[in-house]
Symmetry: C2
Subunit: 121 residues, 2 copies
DNA sequence: CTTTTTGATTGCGAAGTGCAACTAAACCCG
DNA sequence: CGGGTTTAGTTGCACTTCGCAATCAAAAAG
């Protein structure tokens, strides 16, 4: 049985676009995974290696949740059966605009923030 | 002793503008309170009355946190000593751009979302 | 077969959430 | 004054989620 996560489905708190967006990705990790996907990261280990040091169980549960929400697809690697490739669906790519908006806001308003090396694409 | 909250000050997970923004307001409630403040709500009861039905303890702790972060100021009402006025600081008003960006994204990408009545200002 | 790599799951203490009940100060009304 | 009401919270408690370390299973490498 798949672990559930607050808001991972289901009844919205309201129809406010802000509340609904927060219900989808208003936690500390989901958008960082999306960021990594936008930067071209594809594998579990690659996400783990990011600066913010997400725990394996949290990463696993967020990837599942993003998959449940239709933002991410998971597929095995043909050449190496251990490896899994995560990538953004068409719908997941729409999150890019949101992520970039937040990044822009942070860069402008939070001192000492900077994009990760290789942060352009 | 004031209750602490994850990330409510202090060491950043990284210098990524996305991660830092999420450290500030990456939870389910803070930005909804900011939204209400932008809409002109000022009092505890008014925040409680919002559609999303925040619990009193959570509202109290988020308001304190936003105050700690310098986004909100709390002041008593001269005419009625029970009443407290919350409002955005200059710094808190900068969150407006972020909130509007998220609202725009939600309106465009999430079906059936709509701004609250009186949502223009 | 043994070791290593990869993508996880499990266990556990700590922290956060949500609900209901309660409180305290200030105001209102007779 | 004195009881009730309004406002802004706090407290208690069960439950969920987080974060860390340890462990695991399947596949690949040696």
């Amino acid at each position: 049985m798949r672990r559930r996560y607050r808001g991972a489905g289901r009844q919205r708190r309201s129809n406010c676009p802000i509340a609904c967006t927060l219900d989808l990705v208003g936690d500390r990790w989901s958008l960082l995974i999306v960021r990594d996907l936008l930067l071209g990261k594809r594998r579990f280990d690659e996400f783990l290696a990011s600066e913010e040091r997400i725990a394996t169980n949290i990463l696993s549960s967020r990837l599942k949740r993003l998959e449940d929400l239709g933002f991410v697809v998971r597929k095995g690697d043909d050449r190496d059966g251990r490896r899994v490739q995560y990538s953004l669906t068409r719908s997941g790519k729409l999150l890019g605009k949101l992520v970039r908006g937040i990044a822009d806001w942070g860069l402008k308003n939070l001192p000492q923030t900077r994009l990760a090396p290789g942060g352009e694409q």
